[in-house]
Structures are given as C-alpha cells and as structure tokens.
Symmetry: C2
C-alpha cells in the first residue's frame, strides 16, 4: 500500500464537484433544464463529460441536487419573511412580496423551479419545493386563523392555491416573450390579491 487520499485531494475533489453543480445551476438559470445537457455542464465547469459521472450517478441526481440547493435558497427567504414580526396579514404580505420579487429577479430560474418540464426524479425535488413554500404560507395562515385575524379556512389549501396563483402570474409573463409590465405594479397587485384571498380585512394600504 502506498496511496491514501488526503485532505488536499479531498478538497480538490470537492472543488470540482462544486464547480459542476455551479455550472449546472448557471445553465439552468440561463436556458432552463433542456439547455442543460451533461456535455454543456461539463464544458462550462471545465471538465470532461465523464468527470460528471465520477461525482454523480447520473444526470437526474446531479440536477436533483441543483434544484434542491436553488430551492432551499428561495424557500429560506420566503420562510424568513413569513416568520417575521407582525400579524398574519403583514407576514403573508411580506412573504408574497419576497416570493414575487425574487422570482422576478431571476425569471428563468424561477420558471425552471416552478414550471419547467424535468425528469420525474427531479420533479420530486420540485414537488418538495412547492410543499415547502406552501408550508411557509400555511403556518402564517394557521396563526392568523387562530388569532381571529383571518376567517375560518383550510390553511393548507389556501397556501397551495397561493403558491399556484403567484407562480402562474409570474411564470405566465416569463415563458412567452417576456411581458414588459412594471414589476412593482405586478408585485403590488399580487400582494393585494393574496391578502384578499386569505380573507384579511382590507385596510387602505398607502
């Protein structure tokens, strides 16, 4: 025996893996899942295609991780907003706005995470992603109902519907040519919609 993997080589390995994931993420954010072929990812990461398979069992696993990472980032932001100070309506408004603004900032990625065609195994990741979103909303809703700030309702269904509503409203403009609508206006309208949908009392927001 004369060779033992050491910290240094470990680090290099991790770095390569990292680069592959980042490259994949960039490609998805740019051109969606379909543009992100293994060959393209490898090229962008500066490695040979075979190298990808040294780090991941297959394309599905690679992209499952990519989606997991990207989703987590988004969900964390929204969850943070939904657990901020304030009453339920305020928290919901905040979460919706966060969701919407982040999606608009990276439409292509948002589309990939929310609506693009992907492999079944990657799809599973996306389902989890939506669930996580819905959960963030659902928690705030539950609190609001308990506190009497919101009318009686099924929090999970309302939350799911909200996720769908926001997704559709944002992805619609995304996938076609790219509606040149005013982002602020869209966000504001979505917040209004969401507050009404939850049954929050309408105050004059000014």
């Amino acid at each position: 025996m004369a060779y033992r993997p050491t910290e240094r080589t470990e680090a290099r390995r991790r770095a390569t893996r990292e680069r592959i994931v980042r490259a994949a993420l960039e490609l998805v954010a740019r051109g969606g899942y379909r543009e992100a072929s293994v060959a393209a990812v490898a090229q962008r990461a500066g490695v040979a295609t075979g190298t990808v398979y040294r780090h991941f069992p297959g394309k599905a696993e690679l992209f499952a991780e990519v989606f997991r990472v990207a989703s987590q980032r988004e969900v964390d932001a929204v969850t943070g907003a939904a657990t901020a100070q304030g009453d339920a309506p305020e928290r919901i408004a905040c979460a919706v706005e966060t969701f919407a603004r982040r999606a608009l900032a990276g439409r292509r990625l948002a589309w990939a995470l929310i609506a693009e065609p992907v492999d079944p195994s990657v799809e599973a990741e996306r389902l989890a992603f939506r669930e996580a979103y819905a959960d963030a909303f659902a928690d705030a809703l539950r609190d609001g109902v308990a506190a009497g700030e919101l009318p009686e309702q099924d929090p999970h269904l309302t939350a799911t519907a909200l996720v769908g509503a926001i997704g559709e409203a944002l992805v619609g403009p995304t996938s076609p040519t790219g509606g040149r609508t005013d982002d602020d206006a869209v966000v504001a309208a979505l917040v209004q919609f969401s507050l009404r949908a939850t049954g929050a009392p309408v105050h004059v927001r000014r």
Copy 2:
C-alpha cells in the same frame, strides 16, 4: 387519368384521422404526454406508425391538435359558466366550480393540459388554453368591477392568478399518489378562496 378521390374515400380518410386523434387523446388522458408515443398511438388507433405521418406532419402537430380539441371542450364549459345569468360573484363562483369539477373528473387529462411537460410547440397550445381560461374569468371580473360589485383591480392579473391557484390546488393532489381528499370539500374551499380573492363581499352561502 383514371382515379379521382371521391366522397367515400374522403370519408374513410377522415375516419382514420379521427381515430388517430381519439387514440392520442385517450393515451394522454390515461398516462400523460410521455406515455403517448407515436407507436402507442398508432397501435391504439389500429394503424401502422407510418400512417400517423400520412395525416400529420409530425408528432408535435398531432398533439397540438389533440390539446387544442381537449382544451376547447374545457374552456367552452368554463366560459359558458362564466357568462351565465347572475352578478359577477355568482358567475365567478360558477366558473370556478365548473373548472374544478371537470378537472377532478379527469385528473390525468387536466394535469396534461395544465402542467405536464410537453414539446415547445405543444406548449404554445397550452399557453393559449390558459389564456382562454383567464379570459373567461377576466370578463366576469371586468363586469363586476364596472358594476361596483368588486373592488378596483387588474382583471387580467386576478384572472391569471385564479387559474394558477385552481390549477395548483387540483394538480398538486393529482400528480403524487393522489390525495384522498373529499372532492366536494376541495371545490367548496376553492370557490370560497376565489370569491375572497376577487374581493367579492362575503355573504353566507347556503
């Protein structure tokens, strides 16, 4: 010259084409787009694969037609409901209920029409489908706003969001194992959600 296509042969030709479309629709309704390979369609229609290409330039065109037909049917139903008698809230409730009930009756097809991965050219068809849905809602909303029954809002955005909300709420349970939730309850909750979202005054619906 000794041969001229006649009414009889024309009819046979149309019948074959018809069978292909129907077979494709059935396959989509059963297993979604990905299960619906050209070979499978041909087999189900009782023709050879090559025959499909005698009636359609390619798979994309075939399924564009399939989606168009299926969509039209659904949209017509919803549009009908949305243009029925009554004030805007009633019409919207009616449209939402129609949308939801029909989707629940054929979940797989609904999923294919609303959310499944498809070729880009077929995707265009689906976009049109969503637009049509949204338009049906938007019209009722516009009327409601004009009549002072609903608060000031961007009807198109509200309509789009509604389509997304309903789609997500219905498709969510569809794609996984298949939530065993009570359909009636879901529909009722969705109607409530939609009415609130549009800003309709909450009356006791009984």
